[in-house]
Amino acid sequence: MGDMANEIKLLTGNSHPSLAKSVADRLGIEIAKTMSLNYSNQETSVTVGESVRDEDVFILQSTAPNNINDGLMELLIMIHACRTASARRITAVIPNFPYARQDKKDKSRAPISAKLIANMLQTAGCNHVITMDLHASQIQGFFNVPVDNLYAEPSVLRWIRENYPDQDIVIVSPDAGGAKRATSIADRLDRGFALIHKERPRPNVVGRMVLVGDVKDKVAILVDDMADTCGTLAKAAQTVKENGAAEVVAIVTHGILSGDAVNIINNSCLSKVVVTNTVPLGDKQERCKKLNVIDVSPTIAEAIRRTHNGESVSFLFHHAPAV
């Protein structure tokens, strides 16, 4: 440990500089000097401006909507660059794992893209992955290297306790898949739980919805792992509202908010949409007054610190570092 080498080196791609900055600030280090840009033929180029030899390299790359593949290639090239530059260990910090929803062969000849991404990361030379709220935690099994799946839940719990200390709240899962996540929060808050059952005919399109549970005159908090086009959320909020909820709030970990999501939220009956900063939001906060952001950089920074020092990370599954 007293060695000069084997320090934390935090590198970052272009996808989410502000998160990288807060993580670096939190760790009290500076982001390593790298530059990545696109050539005019749109190939990605990465320039490494400092030595990573024998260092403990962490590469933070999130997924910016509509630049998923560019961000991914940038990350892979960075990993490979550090590998060829003799880094001791390379950890990919991917707060929002791309292609996480394509995790099963749900049709004949459908690709399991999440598995492909896992293979690609390992092929590029990644030794460890830190991510947050995987869409399906089974994705960890796609890797042959350790995957630390962090939870935004402690940060979410704190936000609920701070913002709704006394109200009568009920945690609602907008689909059956998220029931486990929602019940866990409901249990820890010792509050009620409800569930919406939905039929989904096609991706990004929402069908009919049925509410199971009591939300009448309560503050209904919809909990999910990601909000993409927000069709589900808006429809779920509508369903909850129709069942007599006093207020509807949505808390999602990954606020991807692609397509027309901002307008859908603005026009929905949701009073607040709370997301974490795992995904860059761009100007969405200006365009959507309902959007609230929970900073998860302390959790990510602490996971990096603990990974580097060889300490247990599981403490973070139930505790959020102070902001």
Binding site: M1, G2, M4, E7, I8, N14, P17, K21, S22, D25, R26, L27, G28, I29, K33, T34, M35, S36, L37, Y39, S40, Q42, E43, T44, S45, V46, T47, V48, G49, S51, E55, T63, P65, I68, N69, D70, M73, L76, I77, H80, S108, R109, P111, I112, S113, L116, N119, M120, T123, P203, N204, D228, T229, I256, S258, E302, R305, P321, A322, V323
Partner: protein, 458 residues
């Protein structure tokens, strides 16, 4: 007829896929290839591929990263769909040519990177400002001169930032931040984030909208910055997604084949270009084949030899950074033409082209800086007409405008990347159809015939 074979096309070059399928007399495999609203690729193979020999055609032009991911996902989908063999057909191989100099958005090379070590007070005792036992927690003055010069460096870069002086002037603030950093104990969680001294608009290297930041990008003192070479990585990624075989055309480096652990058939565009010379250039025996740089000399001489034509070569002479006041007239070598002061490079022509037709031969034109400069030089040396023959006409950035304004009289490319748009904008452009070569290669690979006959043309 060809059986048990499925031809799938990516989105990069539908025209080429169509003509390859026509040449083979096969229908195109049915697939869905689009993207979700978040930007992730969505792929579904509609036709059964079980036990089939699958060929996936995807070129490298346009949105390279998207197309490459599309290809990998398609390969993987076929592989998990029990295809017997998956062959990736890449008319233009992405990331096969990695320039060693950073380019800006429009493709022009950035100013020369500083070759001298910045910060003359650099010592090898410098320590990365990372917390560890026995190392001061602060990145400020506690680290000595190194930390100070780093701060000064940053202040210099963001000199327009009104907050930056406070960064230098407040080492004490930095010190307390450091104490709030990682202590390892329970004190950590109570620590406030060190946002006091961090200026919001500080310099970031990850801001590619602001081009002037690149020019000020400098590596750490004592470390020579380098550009990552993605070649091996791309080869590995294709293999890891499940490709069993690669067919491509005119790889920039022949060594690239060695990056793969699977068979790579590298087809040549040469016969097509050669035929063009024979059929479309009047009195081609009197013309001169010219290579626009030393790296392409082998390619150009091959054509010159087989057509029994004369050969000339242009090479760039780079002068040391210090000799900015270099006067071309005093130099011993023949007829140097100074290109730009910034690059300090001079082009030299070896061979005689006066009053003759010149045929520039290269494998790839991206920003087309090289060939347009070469054409200018050739015209200056008395060439009557300049043809440019290229296998891959990527022509990105403002290449078309550059070619239109250049001394090139005719530019001939193959359709390894889509050329419809280029053709519309550039009247000098002529396109040769490469699809028969790919169709024949696919047919031969499928039947297990030798494809080396495709390499022999004389």
């Amino acid at each position: 007829m060809v059986r048990n074979i499925v031809i799938l096309g990516g989105n990069s070059h539908p025209k080429l896929v169509e003509s390859i399928c026509n040449s083979l007399g096969l229908p195109q495999g049915d697939r869905v290839l689009s993207s979700f609203s978040v930007g992730e690729t969505r792929c579904e193979i509609k036709d059964s591929v079980r036990g089939k020999d699958v060929y996936i055609i995807q070129s490298g032009g346009g949105k390279v990263n998207d197309h490459f991911m599309d290809l990998c996902i398609m390969v993987s989908a076929c592989k998990t769909g029990s295809a017997k063999r998956v062959t990736a057909v890449l008319p233009l191989f992405p990331y096969s040519r990695q320039p060693d100099l950073p380019y800006n958005k429009t493709g022009a090379p950035l100013s020369k990177q500083p070759s001298t070590v910045p910060g003359s007070n650099y010592t090898f005792e410098s320590v990365p400002a990372t917390p560890a036992p026995g190392i001061p927690k602060s990145a400020g003055l506690a680290n000595g001169m190194d930390g100070l010069s780093k701060r000064l460096n940053r202040a210099q870069i963001s000199e327009n930032n009104i907050h930056s002086p406070s960064v230098i002037a407040s080492p004490a603030v930095n010190g307390t931040n450091g104490a709030n950093g990682v202590n390892g104990d329970d004190g950590y969680f109570k620590g406030a984030p060190s946002s006091v001294a961090r200026t919001p608009g500080a310099f970031t290297t990850h801001d590619y909208e602001k081009v002037n930041h690149f020019t000020s990008f400098q590596g750490k003192p004592g470390y020579k910055q380098w550009v990552a070479q993605a070649g091996t990585l791309v080869a590995d990624l294709l293999t890891c997604s499940g490709a069993d075989h690669i067919i491509t055309l005119d790889l920039h480096d022949p060594q690239y084949q060695g990056f793969f652990d699977i068979p790579v058939d590298n087809l040549y565009g040469r016969p097509l270009l050669q035929r063009y010379v024979q059929q479309n250039i009047p009195n081609f025996k009197d013309a001169v084949i010219v290579s626009p740089d030393a790296g392409g000399a082998k390619r150009a001489t091959a054509i010159a030899d087989s057509l029994n034509m004369e050969f000339a070569l242009i090479h760039k002479v780079k002068f040391p950074h210090s000799s900015r006041s270099f006067n071309p007239e005093t130099r011993q070598e023949r007829r140097p033409t100074k290109i730009t002061d910034r690059q300090n490079a001079t082009m030299m022509l070896v061979g005689d082209v006066a009053n003759r037709v010149c045929v520039l031969v290269d494998d790839l034109a991206d920003t087309s800086n090289t060939i347009t400069r070469a054409a200018k030089l050739l015209k200056k040396e008395g060439a009557t007409m300049v043809y440019a023959l290229l296998t891959h006409g990527v022509l990105s950035g403002d290449a078309i405008a550059r070619i239109n304004a250049s001394a090139i009289d005719k530019i001939v490319v193959t359709n390894s990347v889509p050329q419809e748009e280029h053709k519309r904008l550039c009247p000098k452009l002529e396109v040769l159809d490469i699809s028969p070569a790919f169709a024949e290669a696919i047919r031969r690979v499928h039947h297990g015939e030798s494809i080396s006959v495709l390499f022999q043309y004389d």
